[in-house]
């Protein structure tokens, strides 16, 4: 079994499913590339090369490059899903969801309910999320809190290659519509690479992964944030503070039990979340715990989120925008040692410079 990147894992998942089932197709802008051009077909294979090679194997009937018409092609994917195919629709950047949202919001996600349980809409939307690439305000967002709030839609935010492959295969085989959010900083992040079997396998939805285990604090984190949280937990472990780092993997369905049980042990909760400073995924988890596990709580719940601003371009600002390992560690010190915010952050920074 080889160490593979998330990029590779996602490509493998698509290929495996397309081989298994002729109804699986891929739709999106430049998912092959080169259509209507004089040069090579499959010139892109998706803007990040993830679907490279698929058109060679499966042909242009199943690997469908579209004009730049998000609402049109997303709706086409939804209609295809409701009539017997199992499409993967790629929305290049999740930031573009405002150009096609109705087809997911009012159509795909609601068919089954509105139609009295008779529709089956096995659509998978693959889309890129995340800040950190200097891609600025319209190419760096992570609106999975919006996707999570939509009944009828499932939402996946993988953090490592093994999960990414298994969750994507599950998404494609799943009979409900799913949005699969790929953090652009994870594709080639060594930390996110993992041993990935060449064969097919699924990772079930709604089952959290315990990335680290500890007694003192529960940290819930998704996607890229998992690695920040795990890094902070490792540092804190050296200081004798134990963190349960929980990666829910899917935000909807959500493994509420794993989170509640962990908080029952630790009595403390921190949520690290890139989605939003208001009405975000972090707030959802905080509310879950404050309503269902209140009696176990020994300290305020801490949210480590971006500020309530668009994603800035300039690198120092963008780095300050993204939740950091330091902010996670400081939050842990606040809730375990009762430090105030400033003292906690000073302590973390001091430890960091001592280590360096």
């Amino acid at each position: 079994m080889a160490e593979k990147s998330i990029r590779t894992a996602i490509g493998e998942a698509m290929r495996a499913e397309m081989r298994r089932d002729n109804n699986v197709i891929l739709i999106g802008e430049d998912v092959a590339g080169g259509q209507g051009c004089e040069g090579e077909l499959d010139a892109y294979g998706g803007v990040l090369g993830i679907s490279k090679g698929l058109i060679q194997e499966f042909g242009a009937d199943r690997i469908i490059d579209t004009p730049i018409s998000e609402m049109g092609y997303m709706g086409m994917a939804v209609g295809a899903a409701a009539s017997g195919l199992r499409p993967i629709a790629e929305l290049m950047f999740s930031d573009f969801y405002g150009c096609c949202w109705d087809m997911l919001y009012n159509q795909a996600a609601k068919f089954r309910y509105m139609f009295g349980g008779k529709a089956v809409t096995p659509l998978t939307v693959r889309t890129m999320i995340g800040a950190g690439a200097s891609a600025s305000a319209q190419h760096s967002q992570s609106p999975y809190h919006v996707f999570t709030s939509l009944p009828g839609m499932k939402c996946v935010v993988p953090s490592n290659a093994y999960d990414a492959k298994g969750l994507l295969i599950q998404a494609i085989q799943d009979d409900d519509p799913v949005i699969f959010c790929e953090h652009k900083a994870l594709y080639d992040l060594p930390l996110a690479a993992s041993e990935v079997p060449d064969e097919s396998y699924t990772v079930p939805f709604g089952e959290a992964n315990f990335v680290r285990e500890g007694e003192d604090v529960t940290i819930v984190a998704l996607g890229l944030m998992v690695h920040l949280a795990a890094g902070a937990a490792d540092e804190l472990a050296k200081q004798g503070i134990g963190c349960d780092v929980i990666d829910p993997r899917t935000t909807s369905p959500l493994d509420e039990e794993a989170i509640l049980e962990s908080v029952q042990n630790t009595g403390r909760l921190i949520v690290v979340d890139e989605s939003s400073a208001r009405c975000g995924f972090a707030h959802d988890i905080a509310a879950l715990v404050a309503s269902q596990a209140f009696d176990c709580l020994k300290a305020p719940i801490k949210l480590v989120t971006p500020p309530h601003t668009p994603v800035p371009f300039s690198s120092p600002l963008e780095q300050a925008w993204i939740p950091s390992g330091e902010r996670v560690a400081a939050a842990v010190l606040e809730v375990t040692m009762g430090l105030d915010a400033k003292t906690a952050m000073d302590t973390v920074m001091a430890a960091k410079s001592a280590a360096a």
Partner: protein
């Protein structure tokens, strides 16, 4: 006329079925027992029936907010549709959809739709399914003159052309979208002209005349089944009632409506032509009418007594697995 008597009476029965459906709802709605928004199809029946005459259960349609007629024409059970309008458990969608969301996947109906123009991409998707599966089935999107200004309708048209998909964009131009006239809302001289500019053949037909619709669609559906790509049809038609039930329709002149009912009623036109050509009798038509009147009386009576959905239905069927 190439149609047999049986066919003729059958198509008449379908149109009359829709008319009776809508007239019944129009009447019953005044009692306040039918909840929600209602958009009636009266006057436009020739379109739904003339189109669906050429479709099987394996062909798909995507309808719009004014969907009762399309659903009946595509073969959905009107009794269950009436149940649905009353929000009852036995309704076609278990009472959870209502007028604007009547769908019937088994009959190839992707449903009415509350989002204007949304059916265009959806029907294009159903056509993609046909193409990928290598079948000769087609899909039809019914949409209005108002919907013809939604950007995603154009996107769907362009997609259908470049992917050569068997989808028919059937525009029911009744001259008005809510209270805005087509002459104001559409910058081009004609909606059908737009199709040509997306590289798609188009026809403009009389949507108040069943035979005009039927004949045009025979050719159009054959074109699509043969793998020649999409087709656009603009049908000029009329809406007898308001945009929604309760609409005072101040934007229209009373004479306009009266005139439409008198001279452009697709049912009257059908009857008189068929009778004139001696292919069926007034009595035969009348007996169809009275059968339907009786049937709908029954549907309504039954629906009013029918059981509500179980409380647990509230949280069922959001997902298949969760």
């Amino acid at each position: 006329m190439s149609l047999t008597k049986e066919q003729l009476l059958d198509y008449y029965r379908k149109m009359r079925n829709i008319r009776e459906f809508e007239e019944t709802i129009h009447r019953e709605n005044t009692t306040g027992e039918i909840p929600g928004f209602l958009h009636l199809y009266c006057g436009e029946e020739a379109n739904a029936v003339g189109v669906c005459a050429h479709l099987s259960d394996d062909d798909y349609i995507a309808s719009n907010h004014r969907g009762h007629g399309h659903c009946v024409a595509k073969g959905s059970d009107p009794r269950l549709m009436v149940m649905e309008l009353y929000g009852r458990a036995e309704g076609l969608c278990g009472g959870k959809g209502g007028s604007m969301h009547i769908a019937d996947l088994d009959r190839g109906s992707l449903g009415a739709n509350g989002i204007v123009g949304a059916g265009a991409p959806l029907a294009t998707g159903a056509a993609l399914t046909q193409k990928v599966k290598g079948r000769d089935n087609v899909s039809v999107c019914f949409f209005g003159d108002g919907a013809s200004n939604e950007g995603y309708v154009f996107e769907a048209m362009n997609l259908a052309v470049i992917l050569k998909l068997p989808v028919i964009f059937y525009c029911e131009n009744n001259g008005v979208g809510e209270g805005t006239g087509v002459d104001y809302a559409v910058g081009a001289d004609s909606i059908a002209d737009r199709a040509a500019a997306f590289g798609m053949p188009a026809k403009k037909i009389d949507g108040t005349d069943f035979f005009s619709v039927y004949d045009a669609m025979e050719e159009v559906v054959a074109h699509c089944r043969a793998g020649n790509g999409p087709y656009f049809v603009e049908a000029e038609t009329v809406r007898f009632y308001g945009h929604f039930e309760g609409d005072p329709q101040k934007y229209r002149l009373k004479e306009e409506i009266d005139n439409a009912k008198l001279h452009r009623d697709c049912l009257k036109k059908f009857r008189s032509r068929v009778i004139e050509e001696g292919l069926a009798t007034t009595e035969e038509f009348d007996s169809i009418d009275s059968d339907l009147v009786a049937a709908y009386k029954g549907y309504v009576a039954e629906a009013k007594q029918a059981a509500w959905p179980r409380p647990e239905a509230l949280t069922e069927d959001v997902y298949i697995t969760y």
